[in-house]
Amino acid sequence: MKTTEVIVAFILTLSLMSFPSLGFQSDELLVDDEEFGLEGAPQPRSPEPIPTRSQPVTTPTRKRHSDLDSDSKIQFSLDHAFGDSDFSPAGTFSARLKTWSHGGQTLTKLRFSRNSFTDGEKEKFKNLLESDDFYRIRLPSNVLSPPGRDFIFSSVKARCLPREGLDEHFVIHMEGINVLAVNYGSPGSCPYPRNLKLPAKWSFNSHTVLKNSEQAPRAPIFTEEILGGENGEGEVVLPPERSFWAKYWMYLIPLGLIVMNAITQAMNLPEEQATGQVPAQGQPSGGAVQRGPSSAVRRR
């Protein structure tokens, strides 16, 4: 019991530390696309104290762009549905639209404000949890003229969301001002036999990430590098300087065996000479017995 209390307390403090303002968090995630694209998992993982390699919790005020001149603010809404019900508004994303000099437009500084569940919605969500059904969300495919061509759907089994609150994680894949896809789910793992667990608090912990496409690495083009590589190769040969044992163990072990064998034989040899006196003496006698008849034959 006590340990669980401790853990709960730890979790609470952890979550408090990471999200100083509880309520409907607008958890601003600084989304510098290249950075997060490369880091992969900059989000706090599930708050369970499992030792992982995940990054330390990102504080919401880490970095700000100074040049906000050509920016304008936009908003687009998130709709949700419980199982097969119709979609209803669930929150609002707000972001800055940055217009580049070459004409491209991208979103930065995405913020998200989540509406809290009404009592009816809580009831619906409980039903979802009980029937292990899907909680579905949708976004417009174009943030400037919603809904664009079509809505972008995503769904998750409702049982994946509850932790101590409701934890959700959005990864919005953008192409300019178009939303390609949204990856929606719990920020951590959702192990398969999904157990029914009601959230302690009906508030959302939302994490959002914006992602743009990465550039493919170019095919390497070799011209003079091959010549330059000669030096490098000389250097590279150096590191695999392994110990004598690592290099020659396959010779040393048989050698050792042979040596040991030789030693034991050498040890045995004097012994044999010592103990072997009797048979050595006995042999001629035995031989005499044998020789007896044969010599007799010869004599014949």
Binding site: G40, D84, I152, N178, G185, P191, F222, V237, P240
Partner: protein, 984 residues
């Protein structure tokens, strides 16, 4: 782990020493076979002059021009034209050239008749698109040049048949002429062009064939309009149908005067309900009509009087006319009567007098006769003999002569649409003693010969005997399962809807089956979109149950056309049952569950995204209900640029209660912006792929875990502008994006943009990597890229202590709903060739290293080691990395001439490469198909687990015997020596 890596290192090292796998000359044909086909014949031209008499020139639907031997049906020469170079017409000019018109009438070529060398080629341009017609008059000369007359793209050309020079041309651009016929009355210098304009105007142009001068132009209007084909009855009379298909028009244009004569079809055929169709033929005075299922032969007796010659409701095919003597024409008529076909040869002026009447037994598996081509020859008694070449429903080609089938070619195999494999029957007990003795003797003899060969004692004759013995080894073409799994049946489905079972040992056809049930007109009009699935693969009941395959087809071009299913036994080729469905088939999903008879459960998704479960048994539904919530699938809407994920919801809420029908719901969607991306390729992993281990040991004895999800989809999109030909856009406005999408949750796991690149994209997905091929406009070269995806969430499992204490998560089930922590590694390399197909080798346990099989533009298959496409290649690999088998980085992938799997052969018109694992881990079976077929065995890391085929057991036995003898001899010697010692 360290111990394991130590074990692996030497293995890897050895394999890295021999990256090239090639054959020796005497190994050709041991494990591989190659078959040449031509496809369904469209047109055949017999050559009548001396040496050409034994040959026939054909053009086919696979764009092949071939010269066939009339005696045996072998190919003398063959040319496969490009897929967009469709042949419109062929003929023979001046007795030595084959003239072909292709590419929508824009390319005219002449091929030398004896050897098929191209003599000349001319490109014919014109102002607008039109039907293209080729006419080779027999003795029309312009300045001593024989002339070929071509109407194409709204322009009439006269081309010299000696050098392809255009002698004159005449435009018909101003008139919106829908050309129908070009006629050259024999013995005159005139050419008539007739056709329709504005759908109700009949136009006739008379042109001087010497200079292209327009002599006369007449036109006449017919209020009823025209429909479809016309048939030329004589050089001045045509028959056509009005737009309703109920009135027959006889159009004569004698001396430039056009006159119409109408005859309602109901006057000719009493019970004519549907519209009639004229079947084009060129017999003077006679034409044939098809009304409903009835064929009517009608003679035109001057001035538009018509006489019905014969009505028949048998399936009938008519040949073109063949002039046998001055003014006398013969033609062949083939009618089906039960299991026989009746061939009659008649002359044009005497319907009842038959020149020849034969009936020939015909295999029911060939279906109906589609085309007939007639040829005559002079018999030994100096009378005329006739032979006909017939094209059947299954695209096979047969020569009939003297009431017999002289030869047949299974040219349906040139258009394979799907391939699967089946095991052979298990060998049953009770092999007779005599057979064993015979085999034993043969075996001994064979091994003695081999021994001689090994010891270099064999004479040249012996060598020949050894070689032929190796090639004809009865072992490889047996009809039973073998220990190594090399012998299998390749079940192939052709476009004609025929199934063939090919033996992998020698490529012979074990059985063939035309899916009659799918071809019945009351079931299905246009059977298309055929696919093949493994329906039942018995393992537990292998002795008493036969495996079967499922053929799925669609009745019509639209996606919501009803589907048809057919189940075929793969040992016998008998159709077990067939179903014509009420719903459409948009997608077929083989589920990973089987019922107690080992029938695989299949989910058929219809156009309304409803799922239908097959087989329709209560047991199946029981199994299905258990996994109900774990079934997900995706659909790709190419033209919309949307990918959607689906899951099952509930039983269908349709009016007819159907417990095997389920509604679905959309779970996720990915919408590609239509202005910047267009889907051009989607690739998934093979369903039955086996992966040996999830762990990959890297150089510093560290472990990486492969991200092995069955639900990964590779999607390639390009800029809509760049979806055309290579070079049609600048590098700035062209890009190509590669995606890895999880198909359960719709997560985009990886997304990468290649700027300045464009399709076509060919990709292959296996284990945790995908390799794709595209064109880089900036570098002006093709590139191949690789993406490998690794699971980071298992990175902590490396700790041995965790493993010991049981704190690892290796056994916990993996859920797609957990947030994946993946890292990807990728790298691009230049590649010289453009591709037609790409595949990867697959082995039974997935231990053997992989090779990519690349179908090159030259119709060959190249094996490329996957290690060349390793994203971890670096310029200077460390010693440890070298030991792991990492090749130093180069900018382009090497093409090693010895690694062509197809060695000296070409698989013309290559379309697909199929790999099937053998039971022996080191070996994979490769089947490449196109117009030709090619099969071989590959061992990507050499056959490390078996002795080679030419291993001499006799030598081994003799060595052992010699050793035993030596032991005895030395033993005796030593005994003797010891004795002497003791005597001393």
């Amino acid at each position: 782990m360290a111990i394991r890596s130590f074990l692996f290192l030497p293995l890897l090292f050895f394999s890295s020493l021999n990256p090239i796998l090639s054959l020796y000359e005497d190994q050709v044909g041991l494990m591989d076979w190659h078959q040449q086909y031509i496809g369904k014949v469209k047109q055949a031209v017999f050559h009548t002059q001396k040496t050409g008499r034994k040959r026939v020139v054909v053009s086919t639907e696979e764009n092949v021009i071939a010269s066939l031997d009339l005696r045996h049906g072998e190919i003398f020469w063959r040319h496969v034209l490009a897929t967009n170079d469709v042949i419109d017409g062929i003929d023979i000019a001046i007795g030595k050239y084959v003239i072909t018109l292709s590419s929508g009438g824009s390319i005219l070529r002449a091929w030398n008749l004896p050897d098929g060398q191209m003599v000349w080629e001319s490109s014919l341009q014109g102002p607008k698109h039109s039907k293209s017609l080729l006419l080779v008059p027999t003795n029309l000369k312009v300045d001593k040049d024989n002339v070929v007359i071509v109407f194409t793209n709204g322009r009439l050309h006269a081309v010299s048949s000696n050098d392809g020079e255009v002698l004159w041309k005449k435009d018909f651009e101003a008139e919106s002429l829908d050309d129908q016929q070009v006629i050259q009355p024999p013995g005159s210098d005139l050419v008539y062009v007739v056709g329709f304009a504005a759908s109700s105007q009949f136009e006739m142009y008379q042109i001087n064939a010497r200079n292209g001068e327009l002599l006369k132009h007449e036109s006449a209007a017919f209020s009823g309009g025209f429909l479809g084909e016309v048939s030329l009855v004589s050089s001045e009379t045509l028959v056509a149908l009005d737009s309703t298909g109920s009135i027959l028009l006889t159009i004569s244009f004698h001396n430039g005067k056009i006159s119409f004569q109408r005859t309602p079809i109901s006057n000719l055929v009493e019970d004519s309900l549907g519209p009639a169709v004229i079947t084009p033929s060129s017999v003077t005075g006679i034409f044939s009509l098809k009304v409903n299922a009835i064929t009517v032969f009608i003679r035109v007796i001057g001035e538009g009087k018509l006489e019905v010659l014969e009505k028949t409701n048998h399936k009938t095919a008519v040949s073109d006319a063949l002039s046998i003597s001055e003014g006398k024409q013969a033609f062949a008529l083939i009618q089906h009567a039960g299991s026989e076909i009746r061939l009659t040869v008649k002359t044009a002026d005497d319907w009842d007098g038959n020149l020849l009447k034969e009936s020939i037994k015909m295999d029911q598996q060939r279906g109906l006769v589609h085309k007939v081509f007639i040829n005559n020859y002079i018999r030994t008694d100096r009378s005329y003999g006739f032979r006909v070449l017939i094209v059947m429903e299954d695209h096979s080609l047969l020569l009939l002569q003297q009431g017999e089938i002289v030869w047949s070619r299974e040219d349906g195999l040139a258009s394979i649409v799907d391939v699967t494999t089946s095991e052979l029957p298990v060998e049953k007990d009770g092999v007779s003693v005599a057979k064993v003795e015979h085999n034993l003797f043969e075996w001994l003899k064979g091994h003695m010969l081999k021994l001689k060969g090994t010891l270099m004692l064999a004479s040249p004759e012996d060598m020949v005997a050894i070689q032929s013995m190796r090639l004809k080894s009865s072992e490889k073409s047996k009809m039973t399962r073998d220990h190594n799994g090399f012998r299998k049946l390749l079940i192939v489905l052709t476009r004609a809807g025929k199934l063939f079972a090919l033996h992998t040992g020698d490529g012979r056809i074990v059985w063939s089956h035309l899916l009659q049930s799918l071809h019945k007109p009351q079931v299905c009009q246009h059977l298309i979109g055929l696919n093949l699935y493994q329906w039942q693969v018995p393992h537990h009941h292998a002795m008493d149950e036969n495996p079967s395959v499922l053929v799925v087809g669609r009745c019509g071009p639209s996606l919501d056309a009803p589907g048809v299913l057919s189940f075929v036994d793969t040992y016998t080729g008998k159709e077990l049952s067939s179903l014509s469905l009420v719903h459409s088939v948009a997608q077929v999903i083989p589920l990973p569950y089987t019922d107690s008879t080992e029938q695989r459960l299949h989910l058929l998704i219809d156009a309304d995204q409803r799922a239908h479960l097959y087989p329709k048994t209560p047991e199946a539904i029981g199994i299905f209900q258990r996994e109900f919530s774990n079934i997900y699938w995706y659909s790709v809407e190419d033209d919309n640029g949307i990918i959607k994920g689906h899951a099952l919801k509930s039983k269908c809420t349709c009016e007819v209660a159907d417990e095997f029908c389920f509604d679905s719901r959309e779970l996720w969607s990915v919408v590609f912006p239509s202005e910047s991306e267009k889907i051009i390729a989607t690739v998934t992993r093979k369903l039955n792929e086996v992966v040996h281990t999830q762990a990959k040991v890297i150089a510093d004895q560290d472990v990486m875990y492969k991200y092995l999800s069955r639900n990964l989809l590779f999607v390639a999109t390009v800029a809509p502008k760049a979806s055309g030909e290579i070079g049609s856009v600048t590098p700035e406005e062209s890009w190509f994006v590669a995606y890895l999408i999880d198909t359960v949750t719709g997560r985009i796991l990886h997304r990468v943009t290649h700027h300045g690149s464009q399709g076509p994209v060919h990709a292959v997905f296996s284990e945790n990597w995908v390799v794709y091929h595209y064109f880089n406009l900036r570098a002006h070269r093709y590139e191949m890229s690789v993406i490998e995806i690794y699971d980071q969430s298992r990175a902590d499992d490396k700790d041995v202590w965790k493993l010991v204490l049981g704190k690892h998560n290796l056994t916990s089930p993996i859920s797609s709903y957990s947030r994946p922590e993946v890292i990807t590694k990728s790298q691009s390399y230049f590649f010289t060739h453009s591709l037609k197909a790409i595949a990867v080798t697959s082995t039974a346990k997935g231990i053997t290293s992989k090779q990519l099989l690349i179908g090159t533009i030259g119709d060959q298959v190249l094996a490329l080691d996957k290690r060349f496409l390793d994203p971890r290649r670096s310029v200077n690999p460390t010693q440890a990395e070298k030991e792991e088998g990492i090749i130093p980085l180069t900018d382009s992938l090497p093409i090693i001439p010895q690694s062509y799997v197809t060695h000296a052969f070409r698989v013309e018109g290559l379309q697909g490469i199929v790999t099937v694992p053998a039971k022996l881990e080191s070996t994979t079976l490769v089947f490449a198909h196109g117009v030709d077929l090619f099969f071989t065995q590959l061992a990507p890391s050499r056959t490390y687990d078996s002795l080679t085929e030419d291993f001499s057991y006799a030598l081994l036995l003799i060595t052992i015997a010699a050793l035993v003898a030596a032991i005895f001899v030395t033993w005796i010697l030593s005994e003797r020596k010891e004795l002497q010692e003791k005597w001393r």
